[in-house]
């Protein structure tokens, strides 16, 4: 009996070890991505007053609009966590519903960000206008591209889970997906604070 148990454990271990190593590797990627964003934040901080007579953040940004964006992304991050819990419980239907909600909230966020960009460009305040706007579009745009990639990933995982089942491999992928999504929300805290709130104070 106990021998049988140990063989099961031995057979299980390498695979579990492999899983957690994969997830640790993904964590390493997220940490290096933080450094990418940090360099973009540094560029933004250096360029924040380089408006060469063009508009500054105070004139361009609408805080209520950005607050709604922020709350949508935060809720989506929370729902993503709930979705992962549902997946770990093995509840396939709930997992699919919750990840779909995450997807829709993320889509709403991306739509709002793109409409803000469109508005700025139409007003003639595109990235060509000043160093400040170049840095702004690079920083916020890079975050937006990450969101777009995240949405694609969520979409792929919804189809994958719907077609197959909540097996080990899918659980591993969902774990990394939710880490990625939380990470994007964490980056947004700083965009919200440094770009929008501090921008409104005209630092």
């Amino acid at each position: 009996m106990s021998q049988a148990k140990t063989t099961i454990i031995k057979r299980h271990l390498p695979e579990e070890d492999g899983d957690s190593k994969t997830i640790f590797g993904f964590w390493l990627y997220l940490m290096t991505d933080c450094v990418v964003f940090a360099s973009l934040f540094a560029v933004y901080a250096v360029q924040r007053n380089s408006t060469v007579g063009g508009p500054s953040g105070v004139e361009l940004f609408s805080l209520p609009f950005v607050l709604i964006e922020t709350l949508i992304l935060l809720t989506s991050s929370f729902v993503c966590g709930l979705a992962l819990l549902a997946a770990r419980r093995g509840n396939k239907q709930q997992t699919l519903i919750l990840f779909s909600v995450t997807f829709l909230l993320g889509l709403a966020f991306l739509g709002m960000e793109l409409s803000e960009f469109r508005h700025l460009v139409l007003e003639g305040d595109s990235w060509r206008r000043s160093g400040f706007l170049s840095a702004f579009f690079t920083l916020v745009g890079t975050h937006g591209i990450h969101i777009a990639v995240g949405l694609l990933w969520i979409g792929v995982m919804i189809i994958k889970v719907a077609r197959t089942e909540l097996n080990k491999a899918n659980l591993r992928r969902l774990t990394m997906l939710s880490m990625f999504w939380h990470f994007l929300d964490i980056i947004w805290i700083f965009i919200f604070t440094i770009v929008y709130l501090l921008g409104a104070l005209a630092i």
Partner: protein, 124 residues
Amino acid sequence: MSHKTNITVSKPDQGASLKNYITGFIASLGLTLMAYLAVTQEAFSRNILIAFITGLALVQFIVQMVFFMHIGNETKPRWKLLVFLFMILVVFILVAGSLWIMNNLNYRMSPEDMDSYMRSQQGF
């Protein structure tokens, strides 16, 4: 059993619980709204406001790292935490260093600042 030099990484799902997610969500919601209201209502003077919302952002960063990313919940070799702390160090050097150097350069390169510096310090 041959023991190779195995890097043991603790299981990823430690700390993922409903309670954690709800706590993290409510705390983040509160911190976001507090920062927003402080700025829109101009609750403090400018300098205090800057320090206040920067502080709130850092608190929310830690809250989400703990309750959403489950940092600090691993068992002993804490590789995740170690890498995280190293990232913080790199980010600090990168951001603080850039600002320091570029502000200094800006000061030295801008004609008005240079003129007043020359007049006051160098006696030109």
